[in-house]
Symmetry: C2
Subunit: 287 residues, 2 copies
């Protein structure tokens, strides 16, 4: 009889997801978290940090296309992009598909994530070898507080607001993100589950709205994140992600996407009523 | 020590969801399926047919609002509505919130589902007591083949295309659905997961496109259906769900929704690129 091995993600009290696995490819404990890469039967290889699913080969295109192309297509001339977190490299890969982007710096706190993904998830991490990419192993909070570099787009590709990523959901961090942005620059951040994490979303939107002139949420759905819907936050002093979005820029780029497209870009900002009601005064953009 | 009881849904090969439960409220085997109602810790009471999650109290509003209000708001004068399947009553509840609807007939094959939901899920099934509602325990396939009644909107609120619901995904069934529709009437159907059920979606779209002049898919996301995204199919000889949708009808109705709203109605028809590519020739509406 064949062995029947499963990995289980207990993502909320009383809710769990299980995936059958072929083998465990990597297990390590860094100073920040436990890092695991497994090869699953249904979804290809999968990265988990502290037991929570970060990336699966089968659906990572959803998350990475939606976190990268929304801000990069809204900004009229995104030359320099900063990615904080996202050590798997998938966000950098999507950013660098834009030929106008001259430099993309990844600042990841946990070297183990980058090394394990370089080795076991090359389809995700491969763009880290691009000559326009620079990998900096450092604390993103300290980086934005001290760097003299400036960026047109900052993407906060963080884990959940527990453990190493908790400060990435704070006000001081976002004041410094604004500091490292060129005038009118855009920040997009991983913004948790609207069903399960109302308080984290409210706090993030409130902080973004106090630091930037415009703040909004947009949604996507992938296979592996619990609760069906998941959100990103968009903030800028200048650009509205809907009104300042030019669909012709998407056509002009000539890129092939699996999830993203111009109508979906605009549709993603149309929130379910429970989100509109809940965040009414905090959504300071897109009507 | 407290007992730690979980229910597990094995919804695809190698993928499972688990929910911690307080107690099992109902378990029965009908001629059609196993019917289970449990009280879960995270999501309230939950109905499962043959071990697959149908409804949870915490998120059923998403499914029921999106299956009901999209066709009922697109149709200019929906007086008579037929719901096939949906024995929990949630779809009937949403349909009957429209004051213009004079009659809503539910045709459910499995009396056990209706009885168990009447007893254990009154917040979902309560509208079945409405004087405009009629519950018919019958095979929906036979009903549409033989009835002399006509309906402005037909909603196919089916389980998956295995077991008792399999014929509800067939061509003959939809030819008869068209037969019982008033001219230009609308049918909306539960259309499975775009990530996991490409073939079921393709088959359904192909059938709808051959029977009706216009066919399209729209998406929603709830907490409990596997794979994040889930689809409904919309078909009609006359109405386009986007171009013929009048947002002012939503405002005029004065209803309070938790998920549905007018911009989201239109956004739901903007499909991810992998769905547009996959069903290019089968999406015969909305550009």
């Amino acid at each position: 009889m064949k062995s029947d091995i499963w990995i289980e993600e207990r993502h909320r009290a009383g809710v769990a997801a299980r995936f059958r696995i072929k083998q465990v490819l990597f297990q390590g404990t860094s100073p920040f978290q436990e890092v695991t890469i497994v090869d699953t039967v249904p979804l290809g290889k999968m990265l988990l940090n502290d037991g929570l699913v970060m990336v699966s080969e089968k659906d990572e295109f959803v998350y990475h296309e939606m976190i990268a192309h929304v801000p990069v297509f809204v900004h009229p001339s995104p030359r320099r992009v900063l990615v904080i977190g996202g050590g798997d490299g998938g966000t950098v890969r999507e950013v660098l598909r834009h030929r106008g982007v001259r430099a993309c710096r990844l600042v990841e706190i946990d070297r183990m994530v980058v090394d394990a993904c370089r080795k076991h998830l090359p389809a995700v991490s491969g763009a880290l070898k691009d000559r326009r990419a620079t990998v900096t192993i450092a604390d993103g909070v300290k980086f934005v507080a001290t760097t003299r570099e400036r960026f047109d787009v900052v993407i906060v590709d963080s884990t959940d607001p527990i453990g190493p990523a908790a400060p990435l959901f704070g006000r001081k961090f976002y004041a410094n993100v604004r500091r490292v942005l060129t005038p009118g620059g855009i920040v997009v951040s991983q913004a948790e589950s609207p069903f399960y994490e109302a308080e984290a979303q409210r706090s993030l939107l409130s902080i973004l709205g106090s630091v930037f002139k415009r703040a909004h949420l947009y949604n996507f759905s992938n296979l592996t994140y619990p609760g069906g819907l998941w959100s990103f936050a968009f903030a800028s002093d200048r650009f509205c992600p809907v009104e300042d979005f030019r669909p012709e820029a998407v056509r002009g780029a000539g890129l092939k996407f699996q999830y993203y497209n111009a109508p979906l870009h605009m549709a993603a900002f149309q929130l379910p009523q429970f989100m509109r009601d809940r965040y009414k005064k905090l959504l300071s953009c897109c009507g």
